[in-house]
């Protein structure tokens, strides 16, 4: 066990964890940030996507020891507050994307990082960027639509 100081959603937090503990479980079990979801644990589904220094990353593959001095943002910290949603969240709402909803935090985190890099993507680029995120309910048409809509916001 070691203690790490992490910066999550703009706040410094101290966590005690074994050095092989994935960020995913630190967020969920230690920091009570359960918006980041567990889907596969091997980097294949994207349910656990967070931003590290603004880039989309799979939190199930990140270790606390690698994250000291980096800015971590989770779905809970994407918007300033619930009344000022991020444009991607607004688009998600307008398009009524979710079915079961479980994958959606990961989808939104992937989409928001992608749009920062590529603010005016083509549909082909959107499809490619979102390919790593599985939606078992297959809300893919709406995910694509919502990313396109968000890019226009």
């Amino acid at each position: 066990m070691a203690t790490y100081t992490l910066k999550v959603n703009g706040k410094k937090v101290n966590v005690e964890a074994d050095d092989d503990t994935p960020l995913l479980w630190i967020l969920r079990d230690e920091l009570n940030l359960v918006g980041t979801k567990f889907g596969c644990g091997i980097g294949q589904c994207g349910a656990c996507t967070v931003h590290v220094d603004g880039e989309a990353n799979r939190s199930c593959l990140l270790k606390a020891s690698e994250l000291v001095d980096h800015e971590i943002t989770t779905i809970e910290g994407l918007a300033e507050d619930d009344d000022n949603l991020h444009p991607v969240q607004q688009a998600w709402k307008e398009v009524d994307v979710p079915q079961c909803g479980y994958c959606q935090a990961g989808q939104i985190m992937t989409a928001s990082a992608f749009l920062k890099e590529n603010p005016a993507p083509s549909n082909e680029e959107i499809r490619k960027a979102m390919h790593g995120n599985i939606c078992r309910c297959a809300a893919y048409n709406r995910i694509e639509k919502a990313v396109a809509l968000a890019s226009k916001k």
């Binding site: 074994d18 889907g39 994958c103 078992r136």
Partner: protein, 718 residues
């Protein structure tokens, strides 16, 4: 399935004056309320012993609907309250919906499955809204001293002949003291203001901001996390194990055996997962360690048998085949499939001397609660089971095996624990869609289909209920459906659109071949066959030939069936299941010798569409799911073990493989039917038919991807 719900107009609704002001209406959709049943006077104490939903109307006129109906992603948490709000006649944005906690002490069954929620609730939900509205009108009329007949209500406001108005909120306290009326009148569908308009998922804000909603998110003071080691193969049991290394993992509190399983209890999920991998276990056979090759042989042997169970027989099939000009026979084969809900199985249990508290995602709370009672030898009254939102169901969460595990571990460890499955656990300890083979034989004579024989050979169990009476039953005079099964240790169960998810592929592919032999258009063949159906003549037949024909025509029209587009190949399919009629046109192009699904045009007759955005979402998802599993779902077994265990070895459809799904509803004012499932079955057949059009190759096995790998991509004509 016949409608078994007998709605009692009398006495299905009771009211209370809330201590905080306002009215609480307790509703029992399924029965008359018990003599003594009375809603509580505060909403903190709702219990679902006598009622299966509550409606609170506050003094400001705002409405809260408390419904215990489980939400698995099919949208009933939005669409069912819409129906109440429509008849109650309040603005939709004055309505809040709360997932009410379930108290299993005694409540009416609430099960999400079989796309039945909307269908079963339609009459009773409307009646509830209308009766509540009449009650409020009566209260206003009394205040004015006029006859209730002279008053009307709309958008939460009651108006009398003088033009005076009272808001619902202003009369709720009076209404709470009045008799419940029995003369409420339902609206004419043409006057609907909420039904038929898009209502965004009521949980949307919580979902997109990452609020705790799901079982995996649930936490309680003192809760531990448990992982479970199960035999890696079906047909194996525990021989011995060494947990000395596992116990050294930080955070591990206890490792215990229960039955043939081992539980690791730890202070966090990661420790429980990590320690589980460090247990050294020896397993030994307890049954047959079977593989897919063996199953294939066994199923073939069943198809060859002459003594299968006859599920339906019309006319004289043998004579039809003897007299035929031509007989076509084909065999279709599907693998087992795991459900792969995005949220892996999990459940919380806290077993104590006075109660058994269970929380998590389950589609069958009542049945599961009584199984837990039996397992722990407890009174059913001791079991308190509460449901969370579910990260998908697809049939997996009908089975409470993981709830029993949680209850047993908590009972042994005397601690509150949450059992958490890894993806590997979820995929390898499943209740799979059984592997199935169909052999279909048709007799053709004078350019007509004169005989039809379908045989089903399945692992563990066969098609059920009215499936043998689905199309083409009733359309072909000499018709026979037979079934047989092979019992395996591999656990199987319902999987989104059970049986029809593959049966439709087989039959809809087969009709295409018949159309080819008869040299008629595949759409026309289906319309011609439907013309043979004498509607209403056979009670067992619940599909409607005329509705099916309308649905087929709509899909053909919207999907530009029959018009050629360069590089595009189309396939057609139509199927009735779960009380809805669906037809689909799949358009594909070939890319490097591989089919690329471009568009799916879907026509659906599900009666009145309560919430179009939600309904479309269900159909889009069902169609893509059907395409994805037909194309990629491959889950073979060897020596009792599944050969895939996570998303690196099991392929699910992803964004770039996804077609654009274009959904059209047949417009009518018939009672609504469900949509969680019916979009799926036709998709695989339509895709197979499009692949045949593109490549000349007829596919008989799912998943299709295997056919392309096997036969080298360059063989395919582009």
């Amino acid at each position: 399935m016949k409608d078994k719900i007998v709605f009692s107009r009398r006495n299905f609704l009771r009211t209370s004056a809330l201590a905080s002001g306002g009215i609480l209406i307790g509703v029992n959709f399924l029965n008359a309320c018990a003599e003594a049943a009375q809603p509580p006077v505060d909403v903190a104490n709702l219990d679902f012993k006598d009622f299966n939903a509550f409606i609170k109307i506050a003094e400001n006129g705002y409405v809260t609907i408390f419904s215990p109906n489980p939400e698995i992603g099919q949208g009933v948490k939005t669409s069912m309250p819409m129906i109440i709000a429509e008849e109650l006649d309040v603005p939709w944005d004055h309505v809040t919906v709360e997932q009410a906690p379930l108290n299993t002490e005694k409540y009416s069954r609430q099960v999400a499955g079989g796309s039945q929620s909307i269908r079963a609730g339609w009459d009773s939900l409307r009646q509830t809204g209308a009766t509540s509205k009449q009650l409020l009108i009566n209260a206003a009329a009394e205040r004015w001293g006029v006859s209730a007949q002279t008053c009307t209500a709309s958008e939460g406001i009651i108006t009398n002949e003088e033009g005076e108005t009272l808001g619902y909120g202003e009369v709720v306290n009076d209404a709470a003291k009045m008799e419940v009326p029995e003369n409420a009148v339902l609206k004419d569908p043409k006057d609907y203001k909420i039904i038929g308009k898009n209502a965004v998922n009521v949980d949307i804000d919580a979902i997109i901001t990452g609020k705790p909603l799901y079982g995996l998110d649930f936490k309680e003071e003192g809760m531990k996390y448990a992982t479970v080691m199960r035999a890696p193969a079906f047909g194996e049991k525990l021989k011995s194990y060494d947990d000395s290394e596992a116990k050294t993992v930080n955070g591990v509190e206890e490792i215990l055996q229960f039955g043939d399983k081992i539980a690791v209890i730890a202070t966090n999920t990661w420790a429980a997962m990590k320690a589980k991998r460090k247990i050294k276990v020896q397993w030994e056979p307890s049954g047959n360690l079977e593989g897919s090759a063996l199953h294939s042989q066994k199923l073939d042997a069943i198809l060859d048998r002459k003594d299968l169970k006859v599920e339906r027989e019309d006319g004289d099939v043998n004579k039809a085949f003897a007299d035929a000009d031509q007989v076509i026979e084909r065999t279709y084969e599907s693998p087992f499939l795991p459900h792969n809900c995005m949220e892996p199985m999990n459940f919380y249990a806290n077993v104590t001397a006075d109660k058994v508290y269970l929380v998590g995602p389950i589609q069958t709370p009542a049945g599961t609660a009584s199984q837990v009672a039996k397992l722990l030898e407890r009174d059913e009254k001791d079991i308190d089971l509460q449901m969370t939102r579910m990260g998908g169901g697809f049939g997996r969460r009908l089975y409470g095996d993981f709830v029993l595990e949680a209850a047993e571990i908590s009972n042994l460890a005397k601690k509150p624990v949450k059992v958490v499955y890894s993806r590997e656990d979820d995929m390898t300890a499943g209740t799979y869609r059984p592997s199935i083979k169909y052999r279909i034989k048709a007799a053709l004579k004078d350019d007509k289909v004169t005989g039809y024989n379908l045989k089903e050979a399945a692992i563990n169990s066969n098609m059920y209920g009215l499936i043998p009476n689905f199309f083409p039953a009733g359309a072909i005079a000499n018709y026979k459906v037979e079934t047989g099964n092979y019992k395996s240790d591999i656990s199987t169960g319902a999987w989104r659109a059970p049986y029809t998810n593959f049966l439709a592929f087989a039959e809809q592919s087969f009709f295409d071949e018949i159309a080819g032999e008869l040299q008629i258009d595949p759409v026309q063949l289906r319309l011609d066959l439907l013309d043979n159906v004498d509607e209403g003549a056979d009670e067992r037949i619940e599909y409607s030939a005329s509705r099916m024909k309308d649905t087929i025509r709509l899909a053909a029209e919207k999907g530009n069936w029959g018009s050629a587009e360069p590089g595009i190949h189309k396939g057609f399919s139509a199927y009735y299941s779960h009380n809805s009629h669906v037809a689909e046109v799949v358009s594909i192009g070939m890319q490097n010798g591989f089919p690329k699904v471009k568009n799916v045009t879907v026509a659906v007759d599900c009666g009145i569409v309560v919430n179009p955005t939600g309904a479309r979402n269900q159909v889009e998802g069902g169609v893509i799911d059907g395409i994805g599993h037909a194309m990629y779902g491959y889950f073979p077994f060897e020596d009792g073990r599944p050969k895939a265990e996570n998303f690196d070895s099991y392929r699910l459809i992803r964004m770039q493989e996804t077609p654009v799904v274009d959904v059209h509803f047949v417009e009518n004012t018939l009672s609504p039917t469900g949509l969680g499932e019916p979009g799926l079955p036709p998709a695989g057949g339509a895709l197979a038919n499009a692949i045949k059009a593109a490549t000349g190759q007829r596919l008989y096995q799912q998943p299709f991807i295997n056919s392309f790998e096997k036969q080298k991509l360059q063989d395919i004509k582009v």
